[in-house]
Amino acid sequence: VDNIQRLLTLMTGDEKHDPASYSTLDVLRVLYERVLDVSPETVDDPRRDRFLLSKGHGPMAYYAVLCDRGFIPESWLREWGSFDSHLGYHPDRNLVPGVEISSGSLGHGLPLGVGSALGLRAQGIDSRVVVLVGDAELDEGSNHEALELAPALALDRLTAVVVDNRSSSYAVPGRIAERFSTEGWQVATVDGRDHDALETALSERGVGVPNAVVVTVLDQELAA
């Protein structure tokens, strides 16, 4: 059995996984295994890459990946969500090593990512800031303030990863990519199960513009 699947099962208790958690699993694995320059040894290094999980609900996949990469001990997973656990139903950066933002309420990660990208640029640090948002999370208007400003300020260290599992009530196919593109982002749309395609898209950095990677994931596939 794959180690991450085994770790997930420590939290879920059986072989079934809730879609909110599972939709992010492949992209999280590719980010931590192949793309981000961050490790348990560099969680406090100012030059580390930043990964901001804005969509903080359903964090089991995130915790499993952090555990697999050595950021948190396996014993934490067994007790997640219990009274004394560091691992709540929404991640807390002050309790969990490697977690960059405390999230849960939607629409905060991308604006925080814009601020982090500006802060790093002001200090001459060339690290990347990668923010994961959900397609329904983009309903929140606060995202659109960030979406407009990031290209205006040429934040080419910023990457928005939109996990699109068609969970928005008023989804229009193709609109997310068009919206980012209209605002001046470099945009790629990739199949959320294709690790090589994810790696290629996530390794891109725009020149003078931020980039967005729309990751399409279908829940029917996840349940299969």
């Binding site: 100012p46 930043r50 950066r93 002050n94 960059e100 933002i101 405390s102 309420s105 629409g107 905060h108 604006p111 925080l112 990512g113 814009v114 601020g115 982090s116 990208a117 500006l118 802060g119 790093l120 640029r121 002001a122 200090q123 640090i125 208007g141 606060s142 303030e145 960030a146 407009e148 400003l149 205006a152 300020l153």
Partner: protein
Amino acid sequence: MTTTTLVRDPRTQFGRTVADLLGEDLSVALVYAEISARFFTEAERRFPERVVNVGIREQLMVNVGAGMALTGLRPVVHSFGTFLVERAFEQVKLGFPHQGVGGVLVGGGGSFDASRSGRTHQATWRSSTRFPTW
């Protein structure tokens, strides 16, 4: 007399103080949302990387300040008090104390100071706002 009048204006003095702080401490940054732009021209000219006008986007303004704080900067975040705290209340709550980072939020026009501007520009609840550190 003109100089004295200008210095006595709190927003003019704020602009000068912020420019001084930006010059003294490389970790200080200024984030604002169009409001008071004319008081920040000197700061913006001297420190373009650490002075950011986000446009008329107060939710973003507060979280941009918080995001800068996450990278080790000390942001000064400014708008009229009502837009800074009352409009962007959750951003203040979750961006700063919930992340465990600090910043200086400076609201202009507290309480009924903007008496002629009406309810939209008065921050009557701002002075009683307290954020828990949890």
